[in-house]
Every structure is written in C-alpha cells, then in structure tokens.
Amino acid sequence: MIKQRREVLKTGGGLGVLGLLAAAGVIKPELALAAWNESAFKAGSLEKTLAALGAGKPANSGDISINAPDIAENGAVVPIGVSTSLPKVESIAILIEKNPDALAAIFKLPEGTEANVQTRCKMGQTSNVYALVKADGKFLMAMKEVKVTLGGCGG
C-alpha cells in the first residue's frame, strides 16, 4: 500500500496540482497551506516532507524546544509540545522521522498567538521527533528522540 503510493509519488501522479506546484517550488508553500497540504502530508520520508514544505535543509536552532517525554508508555498517544522564543513565528510543524509519513501536524500562527502549541501524536516506533519553525521567513529546526515502549500482558 505505502510502497505503491511511493511509486506513484515518484512518477508525479496522484499529487494535487497545487501540491505539485509547491513541490516544484513554483508557488510559495503558504498558498498550498490554504487547503490541506496533501503533498506534504503524503510525502513519506523526513527529507521529502521538508522539501514538500519548501523548507529544504533547515538549520538547527537552540531557540526551539520540544516538550515531549523521553519515553512514551504508549505510541498511540505521545504528547508533543513545541515552543520557541524566536520572533515573528509564522508556522510550526511536527515531524516524526520513522512514521510512514513524517508530517504529523502544521500550525499557522497569526500575530498575537504565542509560539507554543501542544498536541498528541501516534508513533509506530522509537523515533526522532522534529519541530520545524518558520520565523521571519526562515525555516529552523529542533530534534528530540522519543522512545516508545511495549505494554503489559498481551500488549
């Protein structure tokens, strides 16, 4: 199923026109964000997702913090919070490297909304979690590993 979709992705079929344009860098990702960003949510790997978001290879930033546990008791619900002291934050995205599709959620923050969001995500296995922040037109990133453990009894 996933493999099949990846094949489709390679050949370029199955992507919305908007997504294609965004992936090709023809239009700004912000425009694609107006509707559900299918190309980014279905991009697969971390690298491809970053490309689909128009983020390229973002630099690491010590000003972004990821509030997540080192160990999650269950991968079905992993609390993940992202906050940053960077000025002019436009958006925050949460990416989980080892999930079939890395992108979990994107938040667009209007002026006046604090750069501090929390949600809960599914993680299939122990993985690096990335917070991608767009601030003042620039993409920056932070990373944290979250271990996922198996539960008691039959699991």
Partner: protein, 264 residues
C-alpha cells in the same frame, strides 16, 4: 579474576538499577503530561446528555434513577458503589444498577446491554453514562457501606475469587496484584490486598485507555483482566465481577476517587 567478575556484576546491577529508575521516572512524566486533557471528558459529555434524554419503550430519562443516594442524585454516587439495594435485593455495582434503572424506568431489556459488544449499541450508551456518573464522584472518598450481611458475603466471595488460580497459565488475580512494588512490563501493579493499593486501583478506574482510544468501564476492565488471565469470559454484570468489585472497593475504603482515569 573473581574480583573483576564481581565488580562487573556490581557495575551492571547498579547501572540497570539506575536505568530502570530513570525509565520509571520518565513514564511518570509521560503520565503527568497526558493527565491534563483526558478524553474521558468527551464520553462524559455524551453521558450527561444520555442521562437526561428520553429513551426506550417507556420514553423516559434516567433522571429519577436511584444510584443509592436517592432518585436523581448523581454527585458522589459512584464513590459509594457497589452497595446493597433493598428494591432489587441484590448487591449492584454502577453498571448493574444502571441496567436496573434502564429496565424499570425506560423499559430497556438488560439483555440488550449484556449481549452488546464493548463500545457498541447499549454498551456504548452504558460507557458514556458511566463516564458521566464517575466524573461526578471525582475527589470524593471511597465509602462502601459494609454493614449489610449481603455485602459481607460478597466481600468474602470476592476475596476467594481474587486468590482463585486456574486456567492454562495457573493465574489468579493475586498473581499480578498480590505483592507490593511489582510491575508488568513498565506498568506498576497495584497491590490490591492493601488499602493503598486497592484505592489506587479501584480509585482510578473507569478510565480512558490511550492504547486503543476507548473508555473502559470497570466491567470492561475486569473482563479484560480475566482475558489476560486466560480464564473464560465473565458474563457482563455477573456475580463474580460484583464480588471482586466489592472486595477491591471495600479494601480501598477511605481512599480518594480519581475517576475517570487515563491509562496506557
């Protein structure tokens, strides 16, 4: 040589000890992080609407249901259940009492609840009602009235069931819940023989389970214990489930009700 082996052993013993502790601490942190924003609230919201909604052949609401503190009193009711009810002549837990009310007030056949799969049909109704009612006892003390002889008998039967070993794995409830400071995988096991342990166990169920996104009533919790114990399936609301509930709740008497809980 011998010394180095011993030193090595000590080193791993210390290391693994530290590792286990930090893992336990991190799990505690995880639980703290998910405690705020318990999706049980979503079920409670539905339950409150269902409590007030006219349903069943008699087209009546449950607002006149007597959960033990008089008709319509929900606040604090589940902290005092199970209890002996004179009108039915039975010891009932929250769910069997609700079945009684659904039958008498609304005309809903208990079989519709008993036979429904978990989370479906009238069991879905039940789980929402339970979420609502147990939320209304949050912060109260567990206060089981053990004066009626029927309660004393149920307690003794529950205690016998607690220690009863059987099935292909020879397990009893006590196999996992009959010793202090044990855990299964990374989950702490409450020692249900003690007041503190029983209060911690009984007082935090029913709960939302993050592993499957379901709200589990106490009947569901007990049924799954028996499943993992490799026992046959207990019938919904059957006496063995009531007896075990009385044993646990009475042992935990005086502890704080923290329902609805949120669990792995």
């Amino acid at each position: 040589m011998k010394h180095s082996v011993l030193a090595g052993l000590l080193a791993w013993a210390v290391c693994s000890g530290v590792q286990a502790d930090s893992a336990t601490d991190e799990i505690a942190r995880y639980r703290e992080m998910i405690a705020d924003g318990n999706p049980s609230e979503l079920f409670a919201l539905q339950g409150e609407a269902l409590w007030k909604q006219k349903r069943g052949p008699k087209n009546a609401s449950l607002e006149q249901c007597d959960l033990g503190l008089g008709p319509g009193v929900v606040k604090g009711a589940s902290a005092r259940l199970p209890r002996y009810f004179k009108d039915t002549g039975k010891v009932e837990d929250l769910e069997t009492r609700l079945m009684t009310c659904m039958q008498t007030l609304q005309g809903i056949d208990p079989k519709l609840v008993i036979d429904a799969p978990w989370g479906k049909g009238e069991k879905e109704t039940m789980q929402a009602l339970v979420a609502y009612i147990v939320t209304e006892s949050n912060g109260e003390k567990i206060a089981i009235d053990m004066r009626p002889p029927q309660m004393k008998k149920m307690y003794e039967l529950g205690k016998m069931a607690f220690y009863y070993r059987g099935g292909p794995m020879d397990f009893s409830c006590a196999t996992c819940h009959g010793d202090k400071d044990k855990r299964i995988r990374l989950q702490d096991l409450p020692d249900l023989r003690t007041q503190a342990g029983a209060a911690a166990g009984w007082g935090t169920w029913p709960a939302y389970r993050v592993s499957n996104g379901q709200f589990w009533t106490m009947q569901h919790r007990l049924s799954d214990c028996f499943r993992q114990q490799r026992f046959p399936e207990p019938i919904y609301g059957s006496d063995v489930t009531i007896a075990l509930s009385v044993y646990m709740a009475a042992t935990g008497n005086g502890g704080t009700v923290l329902t609805p809980g949120i669990k792995r």
